[in-house]
Symmetry: C2
Subunit: 207 residues, 2 copies
């Protein structure tokens, strides 16, 4: 099998949402090899750091939490689409000539994957695109932006997706991934009661 | 497919190594829904918390780091063995009548999986067992203890395994898993330069 690691590296210098200092990971080496030959570390992470999976609780007070996500749906076939030509949000008109079917997980490769800084004009999924996708009945969507939407009052893209049980992966690293079909693995940590989790996301191409 | 989640839940009340307060996760809700309708959280984690994968750097100053682990080896066939009858370390004599072959990943189900507290007498892999397994040429080992060894001066079990390129999963939750063969998925977060990572570990039984 061929494996694509579609995960951003987590370190203190990584790109964080809106460059907010409080969203930057903090790493502490808590023990070094000169103490009994053992090195240990701890990490402080915003759960929406880098490549991560949102839970409905992120946007909905009565939403489900990240530890209850159905793992079977996060080990699944998926389709990568190329929207690198776009310099604005992805709308219904960008999607409706692609082969997207009920039960699909769709990942959007955009110019975001080629930018190693936080671009406030990042490419996102417009409400019209979210409505189109939930109308088809997809089960998940992934983007290479740090958010699936931006600057839409009331967060209608998130709400449209969550209301239809569609999961949302953000911060994917798709630069080196050709358009096509893959097996996706993107399992969240089992963080009790939380609104998101960082994930190690991979795509697998089987022979 | 049938999926077994073999991951401990991460929360502030979980069992931590030697019950050390500094190893307990800290969870902060950093934004609530009454601020723009968005909930966000951060978590502070010892990277050896709960179900986790060690990197050689944990025990070896020149060891490789968790972000360089070969992911293909962590999406792989594995074998679960039952050692719930043991009340001491797992030795060569416990292993040598089992069918363990070159390239295997072996997971040990012990009484640890049935204890929801830190037992200082947890079941571990003795040096003789580690030498036997590396002699066969296994590629990974997993345990339901929070450590693969205990109270062995100089940590010979870890060193024996790491010197042979065998990876070490700790803190698996195997209580409900029957003995048998499965597909394992246990991918670490992409934590730059660190000595371990929490993982969401699952076993898959395909039809």
């Amino acid at each position: 099998m061929k494996l694509y690691d579609i995960t951003q590296t987590i370190d203190e210098h990584m790109t964080v949402y809106k460059n907010k200092a409080e969203k930057r990971p903090i790493i502490n080496v808590t023990r070094t090899h000169n103490v009994g030959g053992v090195r240990e570390s701890s990490i402080t992470l915003d759960v929406h750091t880098g490549t991560h999976l949102d839970a409905p609780l992120h946007m909905q007070a009565d939403g489900t939490t990240i530890d209850t996500m159905a793992l079977e749906q996060l080990i699944t076939r998926c389709k990568v689409f190329d929207f690198t030509h776009l310099d604005r949000g992805i709308s219904k008109g960008d999607l409706d000539h692609h082969k997207i079917e009920k039960g699909d997980v769709v990942l959007f490769k955009t110019r975001n994957s080629f930018e190693d800084f936080f671009n406030p004009e990042f490419i996102y999924l417009e409400e019209s695109g979210a409505k189109y996708l939930t109308g088809i009945g997809i089960k998940g969507v992934g983007t290479d932006g740090l958010g699936i939407e931006r600057a839409q009052p009331g967060h209608p893209t998130h709400h449209t997706l969550f209301n239809s049980g569609v999961y949302v992966l953000e911060g994917l690293a798709l630069k080196d991934v050709p358009v096509g079909e893959y097996e996706l693995i993107a399992l969240p940590l089992k963080l009790k009661g939380l609104d998101a989790s960082p994930v190690r996301a991979v795509l697998i191409e089987r022979d």
